[in-house]
């Protein structure tokens, strides 16, 4: 796999600064939208909230995801870029299949985590955001979760960067922790945009918490904290199994794996 063109001029420093700026603005847009949704909104979702918060959540998270993609994608080497469509297909196929079953999990981030482990946090974040946007062409309800998917890709990349995929038993732990962040992040989106969850199984869990007297946001957060950590622990374990099943020749083609010794036994270059 080649990584960059030998014949065409490399981009200048100004372009690099612009991309960094786009990444920062994307992250800031996502963070600001989240903080606003959590802090500035009344806890009673049923009285008067809805439309303004929904539009704000949709536009803020979408803008952030698009800026992240615009900032990161041009820096991704072609060898990694060609893997992103494969990752997106894995996400969409598994996500659609699991979403149609009565299991309160998602398994829609296997491809994102795979790219994050092979190519790093930035590529993972861009893959997550792209996954949400491309999947929304078939299932528009996933669009507001694109920013959350970017967070999962980023955290998976960080876990790989700091060696949590070097020991097999650490991968599900990293997944579990990532799932806590993902759950806390996605709950306000589900609450403010949809007023609930899109699956019957997850809806049943939310209604169980509602029956116990929880507010809607609290019930959805608890459901997310039940589903997401387990879901991500499974996803991280599956990805660990996959990357260790791949031939060493294939995984060592990725500079991120070589540079940060992501996998056990992989020698640094």
């Amino acid at each position: 796999m080649s990584s960059s063109s030998l014949t065409l001029p490399a981009s200048g420093q100004a372009a690099g600064r612009n991309r960094r700026l786009l990444e920062i603005l994307g992250g800031a847009s996502i963070a600001a939208t989240y903080v606003y949704l959590v802090l500035a909104q009344p806890t009673d979702l049923t009285n008067g909230l809805s439309s303004g918060s929904t539009l704000l959540a949709l536009s803020g998270f979408l803008l952030g995801a698009v800026l992240l993609i615009a900032g990161v994608l041009p820096t991704v080497p072609t060898s990694t870029l060609v893997l992103i469509p494969v990752a997106l297909v894995l996400n969409i196929v598994l996500g659609q299949f699991i979403g149609s079953t009565l299991v309160p999990f998602y398994l829609d981030s296997v491809g994102t985590v795979l790219i994050a482990v092979l190519a790093g946090p930035a590529a993972g974040a861009a893959t997550g955001a792209l996954s949400g946007i491309v999947w929304s062409l078939f299932n528009p309800t996933v669009l507001p979760f694109a920013a959350g998917a970017a967070l999962i890709g980023f955290l998976a990349g960080l876990a790989a960067r700091y060696g949590l995929f070097r020991r097999f038993y650490l991968a599900p732990v990293a997944g579990f922790v990532t799932g806590i962040f993902a759950g806390v992040f996605s709950a306000p989106i589900a609450a403010f945009v949809y007023g609930g969850t899109s699956g019957i199984a997850t809806g049943a869990v939310v209604s169980a918490f509602r029956a116990m007297g929880d507010s809607l946001l609290s019930a959805i957060t608890k459901q997310a904290l039940l589903s997401d950590p387990m879901d991500k622990a499974i996803v991280f374990s599956v990805v660990a199994l996959l990357v260790y099943a791949l031939p060493r020749r294939t995984t060592l083609q990725f500079p991120f794996i070589r540079r940060h010794r992501v996998l056990a036994g992989a020698k640094t270059s």
């Binding site: 994608l73 991704v76 870029l81 893997l83 992103i84 997106l88 528009p140 609930g196």
Partner: protein, 260 residues
């Protein structure tokens, strides 16, 4: 969006369709009334049926919306303890008029969003979208990822089927408890992912050899239908939406309930 989707209805530019979809979805969400959402949904269904897109869009929307509606009904229809008008009660279950109204409002509002997005997806060709992204100087990588995902999906499912057949011909038997199933999944998933990674590697070499990693401007030989009238309509639609949102959310005098 499918690789062989027909051209946009009446030769419409994808941006015109996108601006129409955004205007409809944002306006319905801002108004946030189940009656308005139901009326818009009915209008959209009629328009799509007349256009011939209804047969594709409406079943696809139903597949997404039926579980979502059931989930909302379960959450708000049965356990809406903020509701005051109780219609039926049994143990912890309490069906209230407010809960049903909230579920209907959210369900219909989301249905409009899903139908307009799917109508856009089913009316736009990936090649047109890629030409537009090139025209407006978006990163070429975005167009590649978008179109590549849409075109490799059938190839991936075909390869997965062939791998499953190959493993079955080697004696793989599925359906013997959870462990057996897991082993069967692993024996199919690992070769599939390996094959996909290998193919992606050779695709990267081919793309690099054709200057894909270059930073210069790109030229698209594809002409996407557009007209001055459509450009004016797009700008007018976006401007009207901005004015509507300012009036709707801005000054309290416009709406009886004040700021929403």
């Amino acid at each position: 969006m499918l690789p062989d989707s027909p051209a946009g209805p009446g030769g419409l530019n994808p941006l015109t369709l996108l601006s129409a979809a955004v205007v409809i979805a944002v306006t319905t969400t801002a108004i946030n009334s189940w009656a308005v959402s139901a009326a818009v949904l009915l209008l959209l269904a009629t328009l799509l049926a007349l256009n011939g897109l209804g047969r594709k869009v409406l079943p696809a929307a139903a597949v997404i919306m039926v579980p979502f509606w059931l989930s909302l009904l379960l959450t708000h229809g049965l356990f809406f303890h903020e509701g005051r008008t109780i219609l039926w009660t049994a143990g912890p279950v309490r069906v209230t008029a407010e809960g049903l109204q909230f579920a209907a409002g959210m369900g219909l509002r989301t249905a409009v969003f899903v139908v307009v997005c799917l109508a856009f997806s089913f009316s736009v060709r990936p090649a047109d979208l890629m030409a537009l992204l090139t025209k407006y100087r978006f990163p070429p990588q975005l167009g590649f990822v978008l179109c590549s995902t849409l075109t490799i999906a059938p190839a991936v499912s075909g390869r997965a089927r062939r791998i499953a057949q190959a493993q079955q011909s080697r004696g793989l038997v599925t359906g013997q408890g959870a462990g057996g199933r897991l082993r069967a999944v692993q024996q199919q998933a690992v070769p599939l992912v390996m094959a996909l990674l290998h193919e992606a590697g050779s695709r990267a070499d081919s793309l690099e050899a054709r200057g894909f990693g270059g930073r210069g401007p790109r030229t698209s030989y594809r002409e996407v239908p557009d007209s001055p009238a459509q450009r004016i309509i797009r700008w007018l639609a976006v401007a009207a939406l901005a004015v509507f949102l300012m009036l709707w959310f801005g000054p309290g005098w416009f709406t009886p309930g004040g700021v929403r």
